[in-house]
Symmetry: C2
Subunit: 281 residues, 2 copies
């Protein structure tokens, strides 16, 4: 029986309910974060918690627990559930509002989901993505608002694509749940710097890439990405996923690129090192 943590109790996930007066249901008001667990160890937990507390602060929500206590709850949940390869999601909502508008004591939800073991071998095929003009309301904050991302899913499927890349007036930003990277014809690794959520995997990839390549964080136009030698997206669950088509433009030779492969392997190694360090503790 899988457990969820709700406010101050562990309870079976199927019994985890919020009253309809919650401000997430009434007004879509909440923040969250999502991290990955391997061998029952949460990877890069400190970075995810940094972002979670920063999002809460930005949205004027008080996290009911100090960092140390919240960490202990997450580790406790992981131990109780024993889902060695999984994801942990932490949601904080605006609480049970008496007038459906005023923020009150937030509701905290921590859930855990088994993930299919993502392979550590580099994908043999890339994905197609489409572009769409949109910028998220507060791009730097991990709010629960995915109205446009979810609404776009139908068009993504119709176009036989895997995801949708946002841009505003021709400047590329991010995917609904992933960051974007490209590699220029002269082998510079470039990723957008504005109107994005600062992904933890993005941060790790920038650090890894900086050791071997030239890296730039800057504005990238929709035209420029279509001239890329290689392109890929990063996310907590997907690690690095090669992109071989953007709208109708084929990227590079239409196959996952060699620099993307190097970064993928470096990321897998980084995860293994993190895991070793956690096991030793």
């Amino acid at each position: 029986m899988k457990l969820t943590y709700l406010n101050n109790t562990f309870l079976p996930e199927e019994n985890a309910y919020l009253h309809i007066s919650d401000l997430a249901i009434q007004r879509g008001y909440g923040i969250f974060d999502f991290l990955r667990v391997i061998d029952n160890h949460p990877l890069f937990l400190e970075h995810y918690l940094n972002r979670f507390y920063a999002s809460a602060k930005e949205m004027l929500l008080e996290v009911p627990y100090e960092r140390e206590k919240l960490t202990a709850i997450i580790l406790d949940l992981i131990e109780r559930n024993n889902l060695p390869v999984s994801g942990v999601k932490i949601i904080l909502t605006g609480g049970y509002s008496p007038d459906a508008y005023q923020m009150v004591k937030p509701n905290l939800i921590i859930t855990q989901q088994a993930l299919s073991l993502s392979t550590t071998s580099f994908p043999k095929a890339g994905i197609k993505v489409i572009t769409h003009e949109f910028v998220r309301e507060m791009p730097g904050v991990k709010t629960i608002n995915y109205l446009t991302g979810i609404r776009m899913q139908q068009r993504v499927l119709e176009q036989q694509a895997a995801d949708v890349l946002y841009h505003q007036r021709g400047i590329v930003s991010e995917f609904p749940r992933c960051n974007f990277f490209m590699i220029t014809q002269d082998s510079v690794v470039v990723t957008p710097s504005e109107n994005i959520l600062h992904g933890i995997t993005r941060k790790n990839v920038i650090e890894l890439a900086s050791k071997k390549f030239k890296v730039e964080q800057r504005n990238i136009s929709v035209e420029e990405i279509k001239t890329a030698k290689e392109a890929f997206l990063t996310s907590t669950t997907k690690r690095i996923l090669p992109i071989t088509q953007i709208d109708s433009a084929i990227i590079g030779n239409g196959l996952p690129g060699s620099m993307t492969e190097i970064l993928f392997n470096d990321l897998v190694t980084l995860e293994e090192q993190e895991l070793k360090a956690l096991t030793r503790k």
Copy 2:
């Protein structure tokens, strides 16, 4: 005991819960509408239902009931609760999503809240509002996303204001939950035409104003509103509320205006006529 309608059942409001897998909680995905009840009659129900079904369609959510059946449920709830002066809120969410992203069978929630009887005499004092650069994600759709509106409440209070008026690059749109009107020095009634939710009270006021005055629906700049002879906001619960200060600018002579008063009285009369027609049915 106040009742709520949830999916296909009437139940006590305090027992109305959604499982945490609902897409409103996970991704802020949902739409709603809100209408007013007087003497146990819902006012302008057809218009609110038109908008509710239009919002659902735009967000690719299927309303589980045809219009006639949904109307019957709303009337049934009103009869059971017997809250003569009240508001009815209809929420439709993305449903219990297995992967916290995919839309599934929506959850329908209908709640009713007693409202303090709003006076039918014209307010003797106006309100102060502040301005803020922002445009809602899908302004024409009544989604549950109020991230910015709720987050701004603290600044509204700090500034001793009653509400916040959005503009984008200097062009005024709307308040988080109300529409904006101004009256120019030469007595033209003007209301923004773009990036707004089409309020039912706004529609009624435009129709009433057109019988007596010149009315324009067009872009209005932040500079222009500060030169207004009169200004007011409209909403379902607030009817017409005179605005006498915008940021630091005093509107007119700092008191509610005479044309605003005429429109307020005409709106009260229209409600009385609607109520009479409903009672006769």
